[in-house]
């Protein structure tokens, strides 16, 4: 089986003021990667105008593009409309479901969605007390459950989970501890660990750290643009010794 090169970036926060700027960094991507994954917060205010800038920036690339939305993309209550715009531009948008791409004869399965917060094991909110707290925690639980089902049903050779919020706290290092519960939830990692995946990608934590791991040993990468400092990260999946001059 060929190795796969996964390019990923999140939190590009595009708007009219950045139109065309990011696109210029994508030229030649087909020489560096086989697919591009976008980890949410594609806009700043979640307006349709910004959604249009995102669609223009990422349309007609020589590699397939898969995206999830982030909290900023929800701010103007137009996430479905933005998702439709991106789909019309040929970008797959995940909403707690899966897509399987045929890349060089390898079936690459990507599962995911926005994710949500709640905190990390031992230091997290639980479904107790006021309805507002219950609704907050329940939102994350339902997302994690949908990811679990999508992963269970996924028929693919390689499995990547794409999220906006973080499944682990490793990749939040650098953020103030007090806001960790708003940056992610261990429930996401627990769901992925139970069904297995090769890699988890997320954004959202602009002041965090690139590399981390779930309790089950799945590699996690925070690909928020301010963390990477480069147009996108590239992660190679494949066995050691396989196709050695490709990656």
């Amino acid at each position: 089986m060929s190795q796969l090169r996964i390019a990923a970036v999140g939190d590009v926060h595009l708007g009219e003021d950045l139109r065309g700027r990011y696109r210029s960094r994508l030229s030649g991507i087909e020489e560096k990667a086989d697919v591009l994954l976008l980890a949410g917060d594609l806009t700043r205010h979640g307006t349709l105008e910004e959604g249009e800038v995102v669609a223009e920036e990422f349309r007609d690339l020589p590699v397939p593009v898969v995206a999830v939305l982030g909290n900023h993309d929800h701010h103007s209550d137009k996430p479905a409309e933005i998702a439709t715009m991106l789909k019309d531009a040929g970008i797959s948008v995940l909403h707690d479901d899966a897509v399987v791409l045929d890349v060089k004869g390898v079936r690459l399965g990507v599962v995911g969605g926005k994710g949500f917060g709640g905190g990390f094991a031992g230091k997290c909110a639980s479904e107790f007390g006021e309805p507002e707290i219950k609704a907050f925690v329940n939102h994350t639980k339902r997302i994690a459950d949908r990811w679990r089902v999508a992963l269970k049903e996924l028929q693919a050779d390689r499995r990547v989970v794409l999220s906006h919020y973080s499944p682990v706290n490793d990749t939040l290092a650098g953020e103030p501890l007090e806001i960790y519960p708003f940056l992610g939830s261990y429930l996401l990692a627990e769901a992925v660990d139970s069904e297995g995946a090769d890699l988890i990608l997320h954004g959202h934590a602009h002041m965090g750290t690139e590399k981390g791991m779930t309790p089950g040993g799945i590699r996690v990468r925070n690909v928020a643009l301010p963390v990477l400092g480069r147009a996108y990260g590239v992660y190679c999946l494949g066995e050691d010794g396989e196709d050695p001059d490709h990656c």
Partner: protein, 81 residues
């Protein structure tokens, strides 16, 4: 006099909620009559808007805009997993 922690919190909320910014990743510190802003944003225009919004939320303070503009480097250095 208002405690500096409350001033910093008000500026932080203004940066998150103001339509001109919606910026959540900026650190705000108040020391005496000095206001410090730190973080990374996508372009110079956004950097200046953040200082404007912060200044309006904390009139009378001297704003030190220590926010840097992310210079998006060429991709490179792929990682083998």
């Amino acid at each position: 006099m208002e405690a500096p922690q409350y001033v910093a919190a008000r500026v932080q909320s203004a940066l998150a909620e103001d339509d001109r910014t919606h910026e959540l990743g900026v650190r705000v510190d108040v020391r005496g009559d000095q206001l410090f802003l730190r973080g990374r944003v996508g372009c110079e225009e956004r950097r200046e808007l953040i200082a404007d919004v912060a200044g309006e939320a904390a009139p009378g303070l001297v704003v030190h805009n220590e926010i840097s503009v992310v210079d998006v480097r060429e991709p490179g250095g792929e990682e083998k997993l």
